[in-house]
């Protein structure tokens, strides 16, 4: 049995969570979390950690030069820097609305990069 102590990042509460793994790296138990999101986070964190990614994308023809964007859901942690390369290549044309897709199917993950602000 291996115990791993984590701080849950699912919300600002930051619960200390303990995950117990067996010899073949399967999750046996999750304790310390105060909600189901913590359980989900902890299981993902010890097997395939994910993070939501936010950045900015270039805008043409608008009142601002850039628009903030986010990944439509958390992406595998190891892809963060390759994702940033794609994001820095992308451009959106004004007007931009919240939810507009800047990159469809980012790096074949099925995850989109979407705008999070309105640019006239």
């Amino acid at each position: 049995m291996i115990e791993r102590n984590l701080i849950c990042v699912a919300c600002p509460r930051g619960c200390p969570v303990t995950v117990t793994l067996n010899e073949v790296n399967e999750v046996v138990s999750v304790t310390g979390n105060t909600c189901p999101r913590g359980d989900t986070y902890a299981r993902a964190e010890v097997t395939h950690p994910e993070r939501s990614l936010t950045s900015t994308v270039r805008v043409t023809g608008g009142k601002a030069y850039i628009v903030p964007v986010k990944s439509s859901r958390a992406i595998p942690k190891e892809l963060l820097f390759s994702a940033m390369k794609e994001i820095n290549k992308a451009t959106l044309e004004a007007p931009v609305h919240i939810g507009d897709v800047a990159i469809k199917d980012l790096l074949g993950t099925g995850i989109d990069i979407v705008a999070t602000n309105e640019i006239e």
Partner: protein, 422 residues
């Protein structure tokens, strides 16, 4: 020329606090055409506009939003109303007669007679000058929030190799943001023995990118003539003085400061509001009314919050309080609240004895505690005694005072919150 306007309610500041307060005042009966919001920036939203990371709204909306998305929810609600908004408008003065004097390019100077005023000016970052860091004055030293604006609004990078002083949340968020955009963040120095930021931000902004966090450590000198060339850092003792022999030179071109936020209360001081020396905001009752009748305060101008969700909730209370005031409601005696034994401050600082609803008191502790009890007393009576696994200065706590308990209180008593052994 000086135009004179009349409004029931003037809200100063169009960030999350101001918008929530204005909307709440409307929902509580103030005619919407009699409400005006004054905002000095080019758009509503306040600091949320540059906080492009997610984590906002989990409490209030039950979903995880970015700052601009959270702000947009309220901007859209504002757009649906007839609440007046003046952008690019700077409030210069408020008076003891509840007048607001403001200026902008279109109107010149305007004077607004108000029945009630809500202060929602937010806070600003503590600058380098407040820190007494020795050395030259090169370019490349800025607050973390300034860097955040450069990167997230203006779209350019303020530097390539950073040292961050202070581990407040904005500093941690910017450590990650700069790293993702290709900069090298060499170290985050925190003078205290603990971080002032949220645990989750230590994990996902520093640990994820192997950025070292050095506690009990500070920048003692900044080097460079035209541009920052490096900093000297050193460990500090328990009096926060640098320990000789621990100095270390770190080359860098940028120094970001994330060393605390200060409520922006210049206007509040003009009308001599009673101020709380710890929060640096006005003292308020449970409706967030200050010592001047009809003047309310909410959000970061009142107390620096960790979460915008709580700013929204607090501002809705202030909006309701202002609506009640405008409709003629006046209160009588109050009971004071106070923190002791590790509790640095309480907000609200007083509660009206005629209050009919439960009241939430927010507080912060002065250092990190494990396995303690939060105890609330009034006279001989223990109102609450709750076990807490962890308390930290970076995380605002709250307790709820029941309306039935308030009904039994008298004006010469005090509500006292303290940290006790488990």
């Amino acid at each position: 020329m000086n135009e004179i306007l009349n409004y029931d309610l003037v809200v100063i500041g169009g960030g999350p606090a101001g918008m929530a307060a204005a909307l709440s005042a409307k929902d509580n009966g103030v005619p919407e055409e009699n409400i005006i919001v004054l905002e000095r920036d080019v758009r509503l939203g306040g600091i949320l506009e540059q906080c492009i990371h997610t984590g906002f709204g989990l409490t209030y909306f039950g979903e995880e939003l970015s700052g601009p998305e959270y702000a947009d929810r309220f901007v859209k609600l504002m757009d649906e109303t007839k609440i007046a908004v003046k952008l690019n408008t700077m409030v210069l003065n408020i008076t003891k007669e509840n007048q607001v004097i403001a200026t902008n390019k279109e109107d010149g100077l305007i004077t607004i007679n108000a029945k009630a005023i809500i202060l929602a000016m937010g806070c600003r970052e503590r600058p380098r000058g407040a820190l007494d860091i020795a050395g030259t004055r090169p370019a490349g030293v800025m607050s973390a929030g300034q860097a955040q604006k450069f990167v997230n609004i203006d779209g350019y990078m303020p530097g390539h190799e950073c040292v961050i002083l202070g581990s407040g949340d904005i500093g941690l968020i910017m450590a990650r943001r700069m790293t993702l955009e290709g900069a090298k963040v060499k170290v985050v120095c925190e003078v205290m023995p603990y971080s002032g930021g949220l645990q989750r931000n230590i994990v996902q902004c520093l640990d994820d990118f192997d950025i070292p966090l050095r506690l009990s450590c500070t920048v003692i000198k900044i080097h460079g003539l035209d541009r920052v060339e490096g900093v000297t850092i050193a460990n500090v003792d328990d009096k926060m003085l640098p320990i000789p022999g621990t100095e270390e030179y770190i080359p860098c071109d940028t120094v970001l400061l994330s060393v605390g936020l200060i409520p922006e209360n210049e206007l509040s001081k003009q009308i001599d509001l009673d101020m709380d020396m710890v929060t640096r905001g006005p003292k308020v009752d449970e409706m967030r009314e200050t010592s001047q009748p009809g003047v309310f305060a909410c959000g970061n101008v009142l107390q620096v919050h960790d979460l915008v969700d709580f700013v929204t909730q607090e501002s809705q209370i202030a909006g309701k309080g202002a609506a009640q005031y405008i409709s003629g409601l006046r209160h009588g005696d109050v009971i004071k609240t106070r923190g002791q034994n590790g509790v640095r401050y309480t907000v609200p600082q007083s509660i009206n004895l005629d209050e009919q609803e439960d009241v939430k008191i927010y507080f912060r502790v002065g250092s990190v505690y494990h396995d303690k009890r939060v105890v609330v007393t009034c006279g001989d009576k223990v109102l609450l005694n709750r076990k807490k696994i962890k308390l930290a200065p970076g995380e605002m706590e709250n307790v709820i005072i029941k309306a039935k308990d308030i009904a039994e209180m008298t004006k010469d008593q005090e509500i006292v919150i303290s940290i006790e052994e488990a």
